[in-house]
Symmetry: C2
Subunit: 195 residues, 2 copies
């Protein structure tokens, strides 16, 4: 089952796909390149993933696990003492992500724009984006903010906008978004008077 490096063929395929898809997009990377790079036979790939679309779906799931949950949620929760601070820490995590030399860009948004919202992969991406929304809404609820769902939708605009800005080259997109995010939190605090 396992070969050199202690990874199964399926794992090697998925790891290679993760790297290539993240860096260059799902349309620019063909199965032949994935096969060559992961040192796997074509039949093996198609044994584990019936079509390329299935492989992309597996990639998106893995992306959610690593990016949404391990990088964004776990890191943000670890950096803040209070739920409010944890929310704001998302943009500190973003700031470091934006500056990494291997900054890979937004997988869900890229797939959504590449494939369109009607395509199955676009639909899957929308679902993953909604999961991010639910995550933010949950943290807003923990922070005792009012209208956590509406809050999350606005918050997510800041997240997505700052990511695109970072790709464009704005290296300070994260602190910029964080400032706006702070005002949004203030607007949603129950104890605060409404503007």
């Amino acid at each position: 089952m396992t070969t050199r490096e202690g990874l199964t063929a399926r794992q090697r395929i998925l790891e290679t796909s993760y790297d290539l898809f993240s860096q260059r997009g799902v349309r620019d990377v063909g199965v032949d390149e994935i096969i060559a790079r992961s040192g796997v036979a074509k039949a093996t790939l198609y044994n584990h993933f019936p079509t390329k679309n299935h492989l992309v779906l597996a990639f998106l799931d893995l992306r959610e696990e690593r990016w949404t949950f391990e990088m964004v949620e776990t890191e943000a929760r670890a950096r803040g003492q209070t739920p409010e601070e944890q929310l704001l820490a998302i943009f500190d995590v973003f700031g470091e992500w934006f500056r990494r030399e291997d900054f890979d860009g937004p997988a869900f948004i890229s797939v959504l724009l590449e494939m369109g919202r009607l395509h199955p992969l676009g639909q899957a991406s929308i679902q993953h984006l909604e999961n991010i929304n639910a995550l933010v809404a949950g943290m807003a609820e923990e922070a005792g903010l009012r209208e956590p769902h509406e809050f999350a939708l606005s918050w997510h605009i800041l997240m997505k906008g700052s990511i695109i800005a970072a790709i464009e080259g704005d290296t300070d997109a994260a602190p910029r978004a964080k400032t706006m995010a702070r005002h949004l939190v203030e607007q949603h605090r129950l104890t605060d008077a409404r503007a």
Copy 2:
């Protein structure tokens, strides 16, 4: 030079490309489809545009003319009495754009994500996005806001974020962004006390 419908071959090619590229992205549409749809010979297309990339560049220029200037700038300026109102009116224009049945999504961001920031088409898209930034900065200057360039970068985050949210399905992304935009304006007003 001109044929039926009074359009030159070049114009027909560009109009067809505009519709197809806007709706489905530059990677999903091949030159054969553009030829068939615009009723033009292949040699004619390659007479006017040396490569497909040249055609995409012409599309991006046309997009800037129609979307950035005619739709966003002109409409926003027409709807507001004061420069501040004109800035905020951008999100009213967005609100109507998002709800149009032929809402076509963000061309510059899509091409940037599809091709990558190093590709010539990605570079061209970044340039067009920076032109939007300059436009916003100019309007901020007219409104007498402090730090118009920094303001524009934050403002643009709201624009881009709301567009992605709209594609995702958030039909109220525009008013949501407008609320945050209003607070951003307040933060940059000279006459206002800082927080």
